[in-house]
């Protein structure tokens, strides 16, 4: 068994029009910029994208929006230091937004991965984000019913990955990545280094390989924050 894929383009080649795609990262931390750009080159349209944010500047998810690939964003915070891509598209009525509180977003994704179709949370009770959702009382307090989130694909950024798909992460770059690995039919991870099975201590594996389908090496990954500060715009065709 070897889950290694040689090129970024091959890694995302199965993502086709209309797919639901979870993309890891919180802002730029743990964001799989190279996989996103390869996806832009492949050019599937009408995607539903799940991420905590909704892109920054002219790269990554923002560049997907600019390329007209995203029909709907499910996120908690569609703002950034340079939110033009989402803001302009949203205000023009050309992208749908499902706004989800951040902890509920994380728990819905985990529920999708864990086979829990619905759960109750105190978060959002009595607010406009809970409108239309079932409410129930437990132990004298009111809770909102939330549903699992699943996806056709998850695109994540990890640190080490072995050929069985076991993954580690770097610092706060962990964030949504391990959850999304669990919740997608097909999970594609870019890693800074591909290692042999056994090179990652079983005690230190954060995402066990059962949750990962493909691993592609990007040895010096870009950081969204640095690209934004440098004013980079993704021009396409750079992933091959």
């Amino acid at each position: 068994m070897d889950k290694t894929i040689r090129t970024l383009t091959d890694a995302v080649s199965k993502v086709t029009d209309g797919a639901t795609v979870m993309i890891g990262g919180f802002g730029g931390s743990g964001a799989p910029i190279e996989l996103i750009h390869a996806l832009i080159d492949n050019g599937p349209k009408n995607l539903t994208v799940i991420n905590n944010n909704a892109g920054n500047g002219r790269i990554g998810i923002a560049a997907m929006i600019d390329a007209g690939m995203i029909a709907k964003m499910i996120c908690s915070f569609p703002r950034s230091s340079d939110p033009r891509a989402f803001t302009d598209t949203y205000l023009a009525g050309k992208i749908e937004l499902e706004l989800v509180p951040q902890g509920t977003l994380a728990e819905r994704i985990r529920a999708g991965g864990a086979g829990i179709p619905a759960f109750y949370t105190p978060t959002g009770y009595g607010t406009e984000l809970a409108e239309g959702k079932p409410v129930a009382e437990f132990d004298g307090r009111q809770f909102v019913q939330e549903r699992w989130l699943k996806a056709d694909f998850a695109i994540v950024k990890a640190h080490l990955g072995d050929t069985h798909g076991n993954l580690t992460y770097r610092k706060a770059g962990r964030n949504f990545n391990p959850l999304m690995c669990m919740a997608a039919t097909t999970t594609i991870a870019q890693v800074s280094q591909i290692v042999e099975p056994g090179d990652i201590d079983p005690e230190h594996v954060i995402t066990p390989g059962i949750f990962v389908d493909a691993v592609v090496e990007v040895s010096n990954p870009q950081q969204e924050e640095e690209l934004i500060r440098a004013g980079v715009a993704y021009a396409g065709g750079m992933s091959a």
Binding site: M1, G115, P197, V205, P208, I210
Partner: protein, 234 residues
Amino acid sequence: MSGETQTLDTRDDIKLSNTQIAWRAAQDIEDGAYINLGIGFPEMVARYQPPGRQAIFHTENGILDFGEPPAAGEEDWDLINAGKKAVTVKPGAAFFHHADSFAMVRGGHLDVAILGAYQVAENGDLANWRVGSKGVPAVGGAMDLVHGAKQVFVITEHVTKDGKPKLVSKCTFPLTGVGCITRVYTSHAVIDIADGRFVLREKLAAMTIEELQAMTGAQLHVDGAVADLVVPAL
């Protein structure tokens, strides 16, 4: 139907041994499959992986890719499987806590779970955790394992020790899960469960479909060819 079958002899001369049933089930596990084997008889399946295929074994108590038992005296009692037997790990193993472990189970991440059975019904219901209301009940992970794995197989004798059918129209023992079993490997046959029916796929060449039907507590359907159930001497 159980009236008919009570007169049957289990005919040891023309049935598979447990190791042969385990061998037959092992042939259907693909390379790279993630699999959970129930405690006891199903654990035997691990011994018969076809050459060139490497399945990855999951145990509920938090290990992926565990291997053979250690040599006697080499046991580490923090490294055990769900049956509380000492195991080893292979390169590429991972440890995780129980909630993550059952996320793998319930979340549909296992390709196959293989379990024993007291009874399997034609609608896929399974009874395998207790036979009555006496004594101390204990369920463990059985009720979780029957949900979530992409396929849930049963390996079992075709009939009980006193000749009663284990494949039935409706389970009479307490259920482990509803409509959860997709395939049954017995001492006499390989049977799929589809659309609420037992569909016969393989049977021992030495017996007729009618003879097999007489040992079975619900209608056996034939949908395409019925192959011979052939296993090596083990």
